[in-house]
């Protein structure tokens, strides 16, 4: 039963892929797979930060608004300063957003859920104010296109970024003290505090991570749309949380699964892409997402209950 809990998402993903491969063989063409992976990259990349946040026992509901803000920052600054300085501004903005979230959570002692609920509204407001709700278009600055349609060999740049981030994040999670601290705080904040971990610093670090990874997702989105707008990214936070939880990261904290998040994000992408290829209206994808989430978690909780009954 432990095996299901840990690797269930891999079975689910392969199963989903098989079903769609039978229904619409186009889905496993090389072109489509690369396309699918690029589409998935935004949720997957923000999923890195979210996996750390949920492992530490927190949430970040503000990332949808952060992503909107990222597109606005790029949309307004690229025409003025060019691509590289704008990315620098974006990075600084991301770090500041993360520190702001971290400050509220650790210093004002507000639970992460409600704290980021409030900053979700604030960041969305700032994003809308920043462009006055208008589109900030950068149709004539095509150098940013490299983040969505650029390729190295045959592999799209967003996919490369995604894979690189997952490798780096895995090293951070497994091999660094920061990773150990994050897991420690998620397992028990009190105990972590007593054993000398600076909970507020680590938590702030986690929220900087969610913000910075979201900025990267935002860069890819801007590069796809060549537009910045404060209304983008609504509901993005829930998509990312869905992928993270489906991937096997425990909501109770302490136990994260980075590659699970990636696979879950890919699986959600397969569903969306497969239904598209089959010509099913977009909104059925939400239905399937919801049902799969229920199915996966019912199996988890029921198997846990069975295991408990067997031992007792």
């Amino acid at each position: 039963m432990k095996i299901w809990e840990r690797y269930g998402i891999y079975f689910l993903a392969v199963g989903t892929l098989l079903i769609f491969a039978i229904l619409t063989p186009n889905i496993i063409s090389q072109q489509n797979i690369l396309n699918l992976l690029s589409q998935v990259s935004m949720v997957a990349i923000a999923g890195v930060g979210m996996t750390f946040a949920i492992t530490a026992g927190g949430f970040d509901l503000s990332i949808g608004s952060q992503m909107a803000l990222a597109t606005c920052i790029l949309g307004l600054n690229i025409p003025r300063y060019g691509l590289i300085p704008s990315l620098g501004i974006l990075l600084i903005a991301g770090i500041l957003l993360g520190i702001f979230n971290g400050f509220i959570i650790t210093k004002l002692k507000i639970q992460t859920f409600v704290a980021t609920l409030a900053t979700m509204t604030i960041f969305r407001g700032i994003a809308l104010l920043y462009t006055q709700g208008h589109d900030a278009t950068i149709y004539s600055h095509l150098d940013i296109k490299v983040f969505s349609s650029g390729k190295l060999g045959i592999i799209p740049v967003p996919v490369l970024i995604m894979l690189a981030l997952y490798i780096i994040a895995t090293i951070i999670y497994r091999r660094t003290r920061f990773g150990v601290w994050v897991r420690g705080i998620g397992s028990g904040e009190e105990a972590a505090h007593i054993s000398g971990i600076s909970v507020s610093k680590v938590m702030t670090g986690v929220f900087v991570m969610t913000a910075v990874t979201t900025m990267i997702s935002g860069t890819i989105l801007t590069s796809q749309l060549l537009t910045g707008n404060g209304r983008l990214g609504q509901g993005f936070e829930l998509e990312v949380i869905t992928a993270t939880i489906l991937g096997g990261t425990a909501l109770t904290g302490g136990k994260g699964s980075l590659w699970g998040t990636l696979v879950a994000a890919i699986m959600l992408g397969i569903i969306k892409n497969g239904l598209n290829l089959l010509g099913v209206p977009d909104f059925y994808q939400r239905l399937v997402t919801g049902l799969i989430l229920i199915a996966a978690l019912s199996i988890n909780t029921l198997s846990a209950r069975l295991a408990k009954r067997r031992t007792s």
């Binding site: 004002l108 609920l117 919801g290």
Partner: protein, 333 residues
């Protein structure tokens, strides 16, 4: 009724008055600073708008007291609003209300089955249903807005009784009723007990699962009521309506002092918090605050309110520790 009992009822109605003071303060500022605010019609509008978040807020208060919350109410609202608009012409007003509230309760029961009965954490269970209900709203409406032709139905959301907006009257009546349910009924006491300690409740024989299930059904039923009034108010419904409604509702409940940790909360304070939100929106409109700036202000107000309760808890904790240390020092003499 004995006098001290009555006074505890009144005390319970207004326990934890921070949000009430904030509301009165906001009203005073508005009245002093702006002439438009002195028009009673403004208050009628505030009262009307408060009801739409408030209905679901009443149910959500019960659920949050048990220590869970429901992320699916926005999607459910859209789904039930579409159902309302689709059936109101054929079945009439009261059957519509009955059917939609019942459907809401069934949907809430479904959430409850997943969460309370099967043991999936409420956050994830209702997150899944957030996708499902929204998808169903799109599927049954084919992605298009729906409208009703029956003009009489608009009076439910837009009408007045004795000069007071109908939704507000119903909202107030239900808030008072549910305050009594929470404080004095078996179900209400169980809700509070489960929120305080699941373990202690189980040991003392309270059916924890059924109580939580009931709270989920209550959220669904009240969301149904919100759907009926809102679609009447808007003359229509569309499957993409009210994204983020779940967050508005949860914010109002938490702003009213109901703790996300469970065990503590008041329906009357949710009622006042809903009024506070509506007042804040209206005030900012009157003062011509940029509509984007309004979001920033709302977020900051939420942050202030949330940190208040943390600070208050810490002050209480401080005094409790001090009192007990004084007591033990005295005992030591």
């Amino acid at each position: 009724m004995p006098k001290n009992k009555r006074s505890t009822i009144i005390k319970n109605l207004f326990a934890d008055k921070g949000i009430l003071f904030a509301l009165i303060l906001l009203w005073l500022i508005g009245i002093i600073a702006n002439r438009n605010f002195r028009n009673p019609l403004i208050f009628m509008n505030i009262a009307r708008e408060a009801a739409f978040v408030g209905f679901a807020g009443i149910g959500m208060t019960f659920l949050i007291i048990t220590g869970d919350f429901d992320l699916s109410v926005g999607s459910l609202l859209a789904l039930l609003a579409i159902v309302t608009v689709s059936i109101v012409g054929t079945v009439g007003l009261f059957p519509t209300i009955l059917i939609v509230v019942l459907l809401g309760a069934i949907a809430g029961g479904l959430n409850g089955t997943l969460s309370a009965v099967m043991g999936i954490p409420a956050f994830i269970a209702t997150l899944a249903m957030y996708f499902v209900y929204r998808a169903l709203a799109f599927i049954i409406s084919d992605g298009n807005p729906v409208q009703f032709q029956e003009k009489w139905f608009t009076s439910l959301g837009n009408g007045k009784i004795l000069g007071i907006p109908t939704p507000f009257i119903i909202f107030l009546a239900l808030a008072v009723l549910m305050t009594f349910v929470l404080r004095y009924s078996l179900f209400g006491r169980r809700i509070l007990a489960v929120g305080n300690s699941k373990k202690a409740s189980t040991i003392s024989g309270i059916p924890v699962m059924r109580t939580k299930f009931g709270a989920f059904m209550l959220v669904g039923a009240f969301t149904g009521l919100a759907a009926v009034f809102l679609s009447s108010r808007l003359w229509s419904a569309n499957p993409g309506m009210k994204y983020g409604y779940e967050f508005e509702v949860i914010s109002a409940v938490v702003l009213g002092g109901t703790s996300l940790k469970g065990g503590k909360g008041s329906v009357m304070n949710t009622f006042i918090a809903a009024l506070f939100f509506a007042t804040l929106n209206t005030t900012m409109n009157i003062f011509r605050v940029d509509s984007y700036m309004q979001r920033v202000v709302i977020g900051i107000v939420l942050l202030l309110a949330f940190s208040m309760s943390g600070i208050r808890d810490r002050i209480e904790e401080y005094f409790r520790v001090r009192r007990s240390s004084i007591a033990s020092a005295k005992a030591g003499d």
